[in-house]
């Protein structure tokens, strides 16, 4: 099956700065988004280098992202729910990467993630399906904001699915 996996956070432009290969098409929808797929983005979520990021860099990245994406700094009520989602993801990334032991575990898991079995179905994936539309909307908004900030972010490019 054409497994077009969507992790609601993967497709956000601020995640696309690191050059990670092996990418799934991010504009498509599937209810089969898996845990591994989400996790493979932890470094991207925080926009830090998987190899060299220091604890200090991770903390700083987390804070600056929090100041931009925490629901408390989002004053558009229609976007509250999405910024909630994004922040939850940001936290998951931070919690793993800021803990040396979890980070090590996760790094080794990353190496193995290709062969992981995608059968896990969770409620989370169902919500992601529901949220697809708003995520796309948020993406647009977020991109606009990042462009205004005139820095490293580029509009996301559509990649070919590897299958």
């Amino acid at each position: 099956m054409d497994a077009l996996l969507l992790s609601s956070f993967q497709c956000l432009p601020w995640l696309s700065s690191t050059k990670q290969q092996r990418h799934y098409s991010h504009m498509h929808l599937s209810c089969r988004a898996t845990k591994v797929e989400c996790e493979s983005n932890f470094y991207k979520v925080l926009s830090v280098s998987p190899k060299s990021a220091t604890m200090d860099e991770i903390k700083r990245a987390y804070r600056s992202m929090a100041l931009q994406y925490h629901p408390d700094v989002c004053h558009d009520p229609s976007m509250k729910e999405e910024s909630n989602r994004m922040f939850v993801q940001l936290n998951a990334a931070y919690e793993t990467l800021s803990n040396p032991m979890l980070r090590q575990q996760y790094d080794s898991q990353l190496g193995l993630s290709v062969s992981h079995d995608y059968s896990e179905t969770s409620l989370r994936s169902l919500w992601e399906e529901e949220q697809h539309q708003v995520v796309v909307e948020l993406k647009t908004r977020s991109r606009r904001r990042m462009e205004q900030k005139a820095n490293r972010m580029r509009a996301p490019t559509r990649r070919k699915d590897r299958n």
Binding site: S64, L67, H70, P71, H75, K80, V88, S122, R124
Partner: protein, 571 residues
């Protein structure tokens, strides 16, 4: 004063922020303490505390019922001590709000000089003030609403604009049910709660602002600072450990307890008059006056012991009971030894939960009315191994100032100097989970989880062909389900017939930034990707008072027939 003292603006709980989204109106910060309250607002460049007509910034939290119109400590012209004697004055409501009559905190309130009656069956206590020799009943919500109306009127008169949005500080230990009671009190006063902020986290935000301002002045990068905040007022004692940098204060851990100055006072009253509970049991007019006299004298003695080594207590309680005694500081500390030990254990626990070593704490902040007690100061500095406490915060004003800053931040106010580029990343003060594995409490969202949060756990059935399951949602730290607060319950129906252990019951909990809790539950059968029945989503809490009854009734009717167990994760 022809109009009623308060109006019920909305009977429902607050419905979220979307409704009030108009032009940014700066929300005001309110600190309703067990014994004192204050109100502050961001005035465009800094926080300003508002004063009442008697030029007080810190007002007493009490309401006196007289004839028809009750009046609170914000506007009252009379002395608090004098009014106490009549039995018409009700206070300490923050300790009683949202509690049932089996709660030890409610029992400890029975020797206050008004009526707190308990039937010990898990319903709300009967609270009444003595007015013209009649017990006039009231509720903690009503009393809080009366101060809130007075505080609102005070703010509206001074700021010359209508006030609607507020940020209120709350104790860390408040259950979600208690939070709904606070929201109800605000709604009665025509106020909309923008945020309910645990007191030490409000202090943490103020600290973040201080750090931000200091780093601007030094043009430094502002490295991460760890602060320990110890907050002890009349009713509650809370501790927070926070990591602050670049205006972001991340709450790493919270610890909480329902001990406070009130306990110090009651222990001391018992020490001065060992049989006081029996003497005052009948709650007659005379007894109330004696209780109030003893209370005022003891409170005064404790205050003086903060600066003096010993004090003389002389009080005539009437009916031939007289107290004339010298009390020294050591005696006071001995009488309250267990309270101080509890304080110590809270700090140790909070540091552990935050995974922070004492040596890594940069600043130790101590706030609240009890911060003036030498023993309290000592225990904090000893455990934290510091010589100096953080300076630059008024212990009585820090929480309300933090709430006012949060009010401005949450209202979307911009400050040209970056003084409001701040954020508090909150953590859950209590675990939330369900009853499973027999009568155990299984947390789905553990304590000190960063908010907003979303976590899920998978459970399964305990009987073959079990088609229904009861989801009982609790909040707290107890291992047994009944040691926690029941927030709500619902039943999952239509689980496909299967051997026990096969259906996967997914329970997910979601707390958004406005601290709204939603519980979702779905059933997935192995080999299927779709839920077997529609997913249920319930906003909690749904249980009103008397939650003890609810749980008992559910247990009586269903026993273990609708139980669940956790699925052991494959390694």
């Amino acid at each position: 004063m022809a109009e009623p003292a308060y109006t019920v603006a909305s009977d429902s709980e607050t419905t979220g922020e979307e409704k009030t989204y108009t032009l940014p109106e700066i929300a005001i910060g309110i600190d309703i303490g067990t014994s004192q309250c204050s109100i502050a607002v961001w005035n465009g460049s800094r926080v300003e505390l508002l004063k009442n007509t008697r030029n007080q910034k810190i007002m007493r939290s009490y309401v006196t019922f007289k004839d028809d119109i009750p009046s609170g400590g914000v506007s009252s012209q009379l002395s608090h001590e004098g009014e106490l004697l009549s039995g018409a004055t009700v206070f300490n409501m923050k300790r009683l709000i949202g509690r049932v009559d089996t709660d030890p905190v409610v029992h400890a309130s029975k020797n206050l000089p008004f009526l707190v009656q308990t039937l010990d069956i898990g319903v709300r206590p009967f609270i009444a003030a003595l007015v013209n020799n009649m017990w006039r009943s009231t509720t903690p919500e009503e009393v809080l609403a009366i101060f809130l109306v007075e505080l609102r009127a005070l703010a509206e008169a001074q700021l010359k604009r209508p006030i609607r949005n507020v940020v209120l500080t709350i104790p860390v230990s408040f259950s979600r049910f208690q939070l709904t009671r606070i929201e109800r009190a605000c709604a009665m006063a025509g106020l909309h709660v923008l945020r309910l902020m645990p007191e030490p986290t409000a202090v943490a935000l103020l600290y973040a602002q201080h750090q931000q301002q200091a780093s601007h002045e030094n043009m430094g990068s502002g490295s991460e600072k760890i602060a320990l905040i110890f907050n002890m007022g009349a009713g509650y004692c809370d501790v927070a450990v926070t990591a602050t940098a670049g205006g972001v204060s991340q709450i790493k851990a919270l610890a909480r307890s329902t001990i406070g100055g009130e306990d110090l006072l009651q222990n001391m009253m018992r020490h001065l008059l060992p049989d006081s509970e029996n003497i005052f049991k009948s709650h007659g007019v005379k007894e109330i006056e004696s209780m109030a006299l003893l209370r005022v004298a003891t409170q005064d003695a404790i205050h003086r012991l903060s600066s003096d080594n010993n004090v003389q207590v002389d009080v005539d309680l009437g009916n031939g009971v007289k107290i004339s005694k010298v009390v020294d500081r050591e005696e006071f500390e001995e009488v309250n030894r267990s309270v101080f030990e509890k304080c110590e254990s809270l700090i140790i626990q909070c540091l552990q939960d935050a995974r922070v070593e004492v040596e890594d704490v940069n600043d130790v902040i101590i706030v609240g009315g009890c911060s003036y007690i030498p023993r309290v100061k000592n225990l904090v500095t000893n455990i934290c191994k510091v010589k100096e406490l953080y300076k630059g915060m008024n212990p009585l004003e820090a929480a309300v100032c933090g709430a006012a800053v949060e009010g401005a931040v949450a209202s979307g106010i911009n400050d040209p100097f970056g003084n409001l580029d701040l954020l508090t990343i909150q953590a859950t003060p209590l675990a939330i989970g369900i009853r499973a594995d027999g009568n155990n409490f299984v947390p789905v969202i553990p304590r000190n989880t960063t908010m907003p949060a979303r976590k899920e756990l998978v459970f399964t059935t305990v009987h073959d062909n079990q088609t229904e399951a009861l989801i009982l949602v609790y909040e707290g730290e107890g291992n047994k389900a009944e040691e926690n607060h029941l927030l709500g319950y619902f039943k999952i129906m239509g689980i496909p017939a299967a051997p026990k252990g096969v259906p996967e019951i997914n329970v997910c909990m979601d707390i958004d930034a406005a601290n709204v809790l939603r519980v979702l539950a779905g059933v997935v059968m192995p080999g299927s990707r779709q839920p077997a029945v529609p997913v249920m989503e319930v906003r909690m809490p749904t249980v009103e008072d008397g939650h003890g009854w609810c749980a008992e009734a559910l247990n009586r009717n269903y026993g273990a027939t609708l139980d669940l167990v956790t699925i052991q994760k494959k390694a």
